[in-house]
C-alpha cells in the first residue's frame, strides 16, 4: 500500500505542472469570456468573475461578422474533408492491398511530406495560386488544406484497410462482387471508424488553419474564423472579453470533434502495425 501511495504521489508531482500549463490558457479564456470589460482589466486579476455575464457571447455576433466567418470556415473545412476522403480512400486502399514497385518509398515520402511546414513553401505557393488567379478564393483554401491533410489521411487509412483481411474481400469477389464492389461493401464499411477518424481529423486541421487563410484571402466577407478573429476583434485595441468569447466558440467545435475521434485515431495508427 505504501509503495502504491508513493507512486501515486510521484505521478501527481510530475503531471500536475503539465496539466496546469496546458489548461491555464483555456481557463483564462473561459474566465475572461465571462467578464465585463471593467473586470477584464482589474488588478489583481481574478479567475472567477464576481459578476459573470454572457453578454460577450451575444455581442460578438455584432462586433464582427462572426456568422460569416463561421460559414466560411465551415465551407472550407467541409470541402477539404470531402476532397481528402475522395482521394485518400482509393490511395489508402491501393497501398494496403497492392504490392507495387516504389510502394515503400511512397509511404516514406508521404511521411516526410507530412512533416513539411507550410511556411517554408508559402512564397512559392503564392506564386502558383496567383498564376491560376485563385487568390482570394475559398476553393483555394479547400485545395491547400486537403493537400496538406492528405498524407496523414492516406497513412492512417492504409493502416485501417490493411487490418481488414484480404480474404474477406476475396470471399465477396468469389460470391459475385467485382473488386470495386468488394472494396465498397466489405473493406470500406469495415473501416468505418477509420473513415470517421480521418474525416474529423481533416476537418479539425482545416478549421484551425491560419497561415494559408491569412495569405490567400483578402476580402472581408471571405475571411475564415481564425483570421477573422485575429484581424477584426483584435485589430485596433484588443477587446479581450470578445476575443476570448469567440475563441471559446471556435474551440468548442474542435474539442467536441476530437473527443469523438480520439479513440479511433489511436486505433487507426496501431492498426497497420499489428499485422
Amino acid at each position: 500500500m505504501r509503495t502504491s501511495w508513493l507512486k501515486y504521489l510521484g505521478i501527481i508531482v510530475v503531471l500536475l505542472p503539465m496539466v496546469v500549463m496546458s489548461l491555464f490558457p483555456l481557463i483564462v479564456m473561459i474566465s475572461t469570456s465571462l467578464k465585463s470589460p471593467a473586470e477584464v482589466y482589474q488588478w489583481p486579476p481574478v479567475f472567477i468573475p464576481r459578476e459573470p455575464t454572457l453578454q460577450n457571447y451575444s455581442d460578438i455576433w455584432t462586433v464582427a461578422n462572426l456568422a460569416a466567418y463561421f460559414r466560411n470556415s465551415l465551407f472550407v473545412a467541409l470541402g477539404a474533408t470531402a476532397l481528402v476522403m475522395l482521394l485518400a480512400v482509393p490511395a489508402g486502399y491501393a497501398l494496403a492491398r497492392f504490392r507495387f514497385r516504389g510502394r515503400g518509398f511512397y509511404m516514406l515520402f508521404l511521411l516526410v511530406m507530412q512533416m513539411f511546414p507550410g511556411i517554408v513553401i508559402i512564397l512559392a505557393l503564392y506564386r502558383v495560386v496567383a498564376a491560376f488567379q485563385m487568390t482570394d478564393n475559398l476553393v483555394t483554401l479547400i485545395i491547400l488544406n486537403a493537400a496538406f491533410g492528405l498524407s496523414f489521411a492516406v497513412w492512417l487509412l492504409t493502416g485501417y484497410f490493411s487490418s481488414v483481411p484480404a480474404e474477406v474481400e476475396e470471399a465477396a469477389m468469389v460470391d459475385g462482387n467485382s473488386r470495386l464492389g468488394a472494396m465498397l461493401r466489405m473493406t470500406v464499411p469495415l473501416s468505418a471508424p477509420g473513415l470517421v477518424a480521418v474525416g474529423i481529423f481533416s476537418f479539425i486541421g482545416a478549421w484551425n488553419e491560419f497561415l494559408f487563410a491569412l495569405t490567400f484571402i483578402r476580402s472581408q466577407d471571405k475571411l475564415v474564423l481564425t483570421v477573422g478573429l485575429w484581424k477584426y476583434i483584435a485589430r485596433f485595441q484588443v477587446e479581450w472579453n470578445y476575443l476570448e468569447a469567440s475563441s471559446f466558440l471556435v474551440t468548442v467545435v474542435v474539442v467536441v470533434l476530437f473527443m469523438l475521434v480520439q479513440k479511433n485515431l489511436t486505433r487507426g495508427l496501431i492498426a497497420g502495425a499489428e499485422r
Binding site: 480474404e167 474477406v168 476475396e170 465477396a172 469477389m173 460470391d175 459475385g176 462482387n177
Partner: protein
C-alpha cells in the same frame, strides 16, 4: 456440376515460379486434394482456379470454357478459406444469403434456401448471430454454408480445417466428405496434411516447389510413390530411406548400405540407375519392417540396438540403430522392448521401394505391378 481442367498452368511472382506447368483434369463430382509442404504452390494453383490470381501462362477450363479472363464472381465456383473469411459486419443469415442476393434471387427463395442450408449444416439456431459470437467449428460451418447454398459448379477449399482442434478436425473431415458426396459437386481441396489428403481425396495431387510430383488415388500414391519425395511425404511415420548401392553377388541382386545388406526380389533386376554408379536409395515403410526372433531362415536382414520405443496405444514404433542409421519399425505394443536391447529386423520383400540416388525417381515404375503387390 462440371469438370475443372488446368493446362500448363503457370504462375510466376517475379523470378519465383510458384506453379510450374500444372496439368490436371478434375472429373465431374470428383474430390481432388492438392497436397504438399508449405510453399509448394498448391494454394496459388487454387487461387488461380478461383480467379483470385491471374495465370502467367496456361489455361483454366470449367467444362469446355476457358475462364482465364472471367472474374471470380462469374465463374460460378465457391471457395472456403482457411480463416473462414466470414463477413464480420453481417449476421450469419446474411453471410449465407450474400451470394444469392448479388444474383437477385427472389427473397422468398433466398429465405427458403438459407434455412435448408442451415438445417443441413445444423446451424439453424445461429442464423441471427454475428460471426464474432461463433466458435471456430461454427464459423467453419457457416463458411461451408456460404459455399453450399450457391450450388456452384465447383467447390474450392483452402485448408479449411487447419484452424480447428484435432478432434473437431476429424469430425468436420467426415462431414465435408459426406457433404461432397451427397451434393455431388466437383471439389478441389488444398491441404498440407497428408492424413487429410489420404482420407478425403478420390485422387491426390502431390506438389513440391510448384511441380506436380504425382497424381493418383490415395492407395496408388501410398503403395507406388513415384519418387523419394512422395515416398517420404505421404505416410506417417515417414518411409525409411537408406542410401547404398545395387550390386550382384553370386548371381543374387542385392542392396548394400554402409550398415547392412538386403537381398532384392528378381523383379528388381530390370531397375536401372541413371548413371553407372549404381547409387540408389532403398525405401521401406515402418509397417513393413518386423522385429523378429534372431534365428537362421527367419528372413533376418540385420541386427541393431533399440534406441527408442514410442507407444501410440494401438501401435508402437521402435527406432533401431544399425551402424549409423536408424530404422523405424512398427511393432506390436505388447512386445516388451527396452532401450539398448539388441534385436533382429526383417523386411517385407514385396514392399520394398527403390529410388535413383541421383534423381530421386522410383526405379520400379516400369516394372509390372503384380510382382510388387504379391
Amino acid at each position: 456440376m462440371s469438370t475443372v481442367t488446368c493446362r500448363d498452368l503457370t504462375k510466376r511472382f517475379g523470378d519465383v515460379v510458384a506453379v510450374n506447368k500444372l496439368n490436371l483434369v478434375v472429373q465431374d463430382r470428383e474430390f481432388v486434394v492438392l497436397v504438399g509442404p508449405s510453399g509448394c504452390g498448391k494454394t496459388t494453383a487454387l487461387r488461380m482456379i478461383a480467379g483470385l490470381e491471374t495465370a502467367s501462362e496456361g489455361e483454366i477450363l470449367l467444362d469446355d470454357q476457358v475462364v482465364n479472363k472471367v472474374p471470380p464472381g462469374r465463374r460460378d465456383i465457391a471457395m472456403v478459406f482457411q480463416n473462414y473469411a466470414l463477413y464480420p459486419h453481417m449476421r450469419v443469415y446474411d453471410n449465407i444469403a450474400y451470394a444469392l442476393r448479388l444474383r437477385h434471387t427472389p427473397k422468398h427463395e433466398i429465405d427458403q434456401r438459407v434455412h435448408a442450408t442451415a438445417k443441413m449444416l445444423e446451424i439453424e439456431s445461429l442464423l441471427n448471430r454475428w460471426p464474432k459470437q461463433l466458435s471456430g467449428g461454427q464459423r467453419q460451418r457457416v463458411a461451408l454454408g456460404r459455399a453450399v447454398i450457391r450450388q456452384p459448379r465447383a467447390f474450392l477449399m483452402d485448408e479449411p480445417l487447419s484452424n480447428l482442434d484435432a478432434q473437431l478436425r476429424v469430425a468436420m473431415r467426415r462431414e465435408i466428405i459426406h457433404l461432397q458426396r451427397n451434393l455431388g459437386i466437383t471439389t478441389i481441396y488444398v491441404t498440407h496434411d497428408q492424413v487429410e489428403a489420404m482420407t478425403m481425396g478420390d485422387r491426390i495431387v502431390v506438389m513440391r516447389d510448384g511441380l506436380v510430383q504425382q497424381v493418383g488415388t490415395p492407395s496408388e500414391v501410398y503403395r507406388r510413390p513415384r519418387n523419394n519425395f512422395v515416398a517420404r511425404f505421404i505416410g506417417s511415420p515417414a518411409m525409411n530411406l537408406f542410401a547404398g548401392k545395387l550390386m550382384t553377388e553370386a548371381g543374387e541382386l542385392q542392396f548394400r548400405s554402409a550398415s547392412f545388406r538386403v537381398m532384392l526380389p528378381d523383379a528388381f533386376r530390370a531397375a536401372r540407375t541413371s548413371g553407372d554408379s549404381g547409387d540408389v536409395q532403398l525405401g521401406i515403410r515402418p509397417e513393413d519392417v518386423a522385429v523378429v526372433e534372431d534365428r537362421p531362415g527367419n528372413g533376418t536382414v540385420t541386427r541393431g540396438v533399440v534406441d527408442l520405443v514410442e507407444h501410440l496405444g494401438s501401435d508402437a514404433y521402435a527406432s533401431v540403430k544399425v551402424g549409423n542409421e536408424i530404422i523405424l519399425a512398427r511393432v506390436s505394443p505388447d512386445i516388451q522392448l527396452h532401450d539398448g536391447q539388441t534385436v533382429a529386423l526383417s523386411f517385407n520383400q514385396s514392399k520394398l521401394h527403390l529410388f535413383d540416388a541421383a534423381t530421386g525417381e522410383s526405379l520400379l515404375t516400369n516394372l509390372p505391378v503384380v510382382t510388387l503387390q504379391s
